[in-house]
């Protein structure tokens, strides 16, 4: 077995929306898993009291963290929308090529729109944390 090529042989496929979205679903899933660390940090700080919580709020409110949070927000909405697309596929619906492309564009559009809307709310409140 060692050294044998393993399928799928990605290098011989033309990039497509459907396969690309499948890969992004995995990448956003991994990103969200890592993002749970920030959620845990925030919850543990809140459980420890005022000082720990205020320092966590400062850390999460810092610019690099805010940029990461924008990425996580998009990852969340993308994984959610594309996940609903997966659940629809599980019922046997949506496998026709045209439908698969249409739901793909809808999922991307909805994820971008919800990310923008969420951060518009955040910025209207003067930034996160």
């Amino acid at each position: 077995m060692a050294g044998n090529p393993l399928s799928p042989h990605l290098q011989i496929y033309r990039p497509q929306l459907t396969s690309g979205m499948s890969i992004v679903h995995r990448i956003t899933g991994i990103a969200l898993s890592l993002g749970t660390l920030v959620l845990l940090y925030w919850l543990v700080a809140a459980a420890q009291g005022m000082e720990a919580y205020e320092s966590a709020q400062r850390c999460i409110g810092s610019l690099p963290m805010q940029l990461l949070l924008v990425g996580w927000t998009f990852s969340f909405y993308y994984h959610l929308c594309n996940g609903i697309r997966h659940l629809l596929w599980d019922t046997g619906w949506g496998f026709e090529l045209g439908t698969a492309y249409k739901t793909g564009y809808i999922a991307i559009g909805a994820a971008v729109a919800m990310t923008v809307l969420t951060w518009a709310c955040v910025i209207a409140q003067g930034g996160a944390a």
Binding site: L6, L40, V44, Q125, A129
Partner: protein
């Protein structure tokens, strides 16, 4: 009717009758996470400027406590199921794969416990 050969049966090879378990649990947690995660994101938008007193008062409501505990449990279980597939797909050296799977699963259990205990500690007024 058994489709296994006698040798496979003796060696314990073949279906463990657990093939659909992972798939079903992944979908169950996904369905649970749709309302839970959307609720949490909207709640965060409302409570992100809370000081620790306001935040802990909010968490102490029984509904919020239960929703948060459910969210954390479903989230870490869903993460475990997803990361498991990713590791199984991309790591082909057995020892590396098994080591990563064990580390990932233990980390998910630890993360879930840490989150749930923090929520309960706040909820039971021990902060």
């Amino acid at each position: 009717m058994k489709l296994q050969s006698d040798l496979s049966r003796v060696l314990g090879l073949g279906s463990a009758r657990a093939g659909s378990h992972h798939w079903i649990h992944q979908r169950m947690t996904a369905i649970a996470l749709i309302p839970l995660a959307l609720w949490f994101v909207t709640a965060l938008l409302t409570h992100m400027h809370d000081d620790v007193v306001d935040l802990t008062n909010w968490i102490r409501s029984p509904f919020v406590t239960v929703l948060l505990v459910s969210l954390i449990a479903a989230m870490f279980y869903h993460a475990k199921l997803g990361l498991q597939v990713v590791i199984e797909d991309y790591f082909h050296v057995e020892i590396v794969k098994v080591a990563l799977l064990i580390a990932m699963k233990l980390a998910c259990v630890f993360g879930a416990l840490l989150g749930i205990v923090s929520v309960l500690k706040i909820s039971f007024g021990m902060t």
